[in-house]
Amino acid sequence: MMSSSLFVNRSLCLIVFCMVFFSCKHEDKYHGVMEKIEAEGEHYQGVSLSSENYLEGVDTILISEGGHTFLIPERKNQIKLYACTECHSKPLAEMQEGDIKKAHWDIKIVHANEKAMNCVTCHNPSNMDELRSVTGMSIDFDNSYNLCSQCHSKQFEDWKGGAHGKRIGGWAPPRASMTCVNCHNPHQPHFESRWPARFNTQKVKERE
């Protein structure tokens, strides 16, 4: 009887000890993932991976805005009939009068309202090869984000930092981001509504 109760005591102690021992398995040095990111990111050496391969075939230009330097797709070679002056050889008024074939007839402006915007808010009627700011400064087609950022300053901030605008290539450096007009049609900048890509019939069944 004596020995058995001793045995019980011992085994109990052992169990308690094991439980205490194993429950203290906090190897984690950090209190949260943010702390960990900051601490481990301090000695960031760079990665061997690169997105360059995935950017092949996309003509990009390097821009530097507000301390952020990154690539954006070149725009001018994406425009079908650039330079515009190849057609726009005369002032607009003259071209509209004549009996030439109509162009750009399908462009509707659904962007702000008529009071605020029309074609010449952005296009420079005296030099169709360039865009122009509200104050009349010229803006290159490749840097059209400078035009948008006049009004959409918040989105511009987000875009520079990377919170707005889709990345091209991969996550690995160098960073390449879409510019405004890659996603938004400047004349109708909102996204179209459409049907979702999929519908899960199995899920319906599961929930009856």
Binding site: M1, S3, S4, S5, F7, V8, S11, L12, I15, C18, F22, K25, E206, R207, E208
Partner: protein
């Protein structure tokens, strides 16, 4: 060498015993065999097609199997409630009951393991779980704790009665010095298997219905009600069909255990209900679903509203001495208590833990025929194992089975 000879003769004798019996006995065993075959057939379908033949989905990813597993762990642990007084306190009353109890524990544990294996998606790679061969994620995973304690408990519950029966078989007294430490250990172990199984669920912060400090203690209470209740029923049956003498005093004592446990269980149930419904939070949704249904989904209502009245009725009946001392009422209340706790600890615990899902979505669960077939098969397996064990044990205890030294 001699031990081996005795053992061989024991196996032979017990084989003789279990293959001979009354017509009723043969019908019973035949029925169990048939059920096991049905279970095996259903399991083969499941092996072939995958677990998609069960009612489980990504939403409710544990169902009937794990419910039964959880409940049976409780039954297994209960045997030990009888071990303690018998072996340690030398309370002779329980002595006959305890062998039956431990046999029950062995059967229950075998069923537990069978249910876990039935629930696995890849039984062919189960060896990944064997310590030394695979990778055993101990002590991080509560499931590994469960594997250890269940197998340990199975080992204890096989060796102790085996030792005693083996001695009796040779006409010798079992040495208490040998089995008492084991018996004491198994008492702690029984509490251990319970808590560990409860912790399996309790430790999941993802499931608020389980992540509740009362789960472990309630497990214990309900197990100590359901297990001995089953033992009472089994003893009653044995008393009826065999010459094995079980005194009324024994049954009464076990009934006492059942009563106290059932009362504690009821108190805890009330405490739980109070917490869930007095100040309901987002985390009470599972309980709402269980008791009242949620967003028009109410598959569990019939179950739980069967269980609760049965539970209350049984507890009330057991509480009054007069009623409890009437064997008919005792058996009846034990039976309904057993059923009530089976529902409560199985369906009522596992399934609502998954409903609503992490994002509030409700997909209900109903077991399929295949699942029920496998479940019945495993229960039949348990009953079969128990019958074999009990018949041998009773034979030895009654002195019908004795090692005959001079015979061959």
């Amino acid at each position: 060498m001699k031990q081996l000879k005795v053992f061989r003769s024991l196996v032979k004798d017990s084989f003789d015993v279990v293959t001979h019996g009354t017509v009723k006995y043969h019908i019973w065993m035949g029925f169990l065999t048939f059920m096991m075959l049905v279970g095996m057939y259903c399991y083969s379908i499941q092996l072939n097609e995958g677990l998609s033949v069960t009612g489980m989905t990504d939403r409710v990813s544990w169902g009937l199997y794990i419910s039964n597993f959880t409940f049976l762990v409780g039954v297994a642990a209960a045997a030990v409630m009888l071990v303690m007084p018998t072996y340690v306190l030398h309370d002779v009353d329980f002595k006959q009951a305890v062998l039956i109890g431990e046999g029950l524990a062995v059967a229950a544990l075998i069923m537990c393991l069978a249910f876990v294996i039935a629930d696995m998606g890849g039984p062919s790679v189960l060896w990944h779980m064997i310590p030394g061969l695979g990778v055993f994620n101990f002590p991080n995973s509560m499931l590994t704790w469960d594997v250890i304690v269940l197998n340990g408990y199975l080992f204890l519950n096989i060796t102790i009665p085996f030792y005693i029966l083996f001695r009796h078989y040779q006409g010798k007294e079992a040495k208490s010095k040998v089995y008492v430490p084991g018996a004491i250990l198994s008492v702690f172990w029984a509490v251990g298997i319970h808590l560990v199984t409860a912790f399996l669920y309790q430790g999941l912060q993802a499931r608020p219905f389980w992540n509740n400090a009362l789960l472990g203690p309630r497990f214990l209470a309900s197990a100590f009600a359901a297990g001995p209740a089953l033992i009472i029923l089994v003893l009653a049956i044995i008393r009826n069909f065999t010459a094995f003498k079980i005194e009324d005093k024994t049954l009464k004592k076990i009934a006492m255990v059942v009563t106290v446990a059932a009362q504690i269980n009821l108190i805890m149930l009330i405490s739980e209900l109070f917490k869930e419904f007095y100040a309901p939070t987002h985390h009470s949704e599972s309980a709402y679903y269980l008791f009242f249904g949620l967003h028009g989904k109410d598959a569990l209502l019939p179950w739980i509203w069967t269980a609760i009245p049965l539970n209350v009725l049984a507890t009330v009946l057991l509480t009054f001495h007069k009623l409890r001392n009437n064997p008919k009422i005792l058996y009846f209340s034990c039976f309904i208590l057993f059923v009530a706790i089976w529902i409560e600890k199985g369906f009522g615990l596992i399934v609502p833990g998954f409903i609503p899902g992490p994002y509030g979505k409700i997909a209900e669960y109903t077991p399929t025929g295949v699942e029920i077939g496998v479940t019945l098969g495993i229960w039949a397996l348990g009953a079969f194992v128990f019958t074999v064990l009990a018949k041998t044990a009773i034979g030895i205890e009654l002195g019908e089975l004795r090692f005959k030294n001079n015979k061959n």
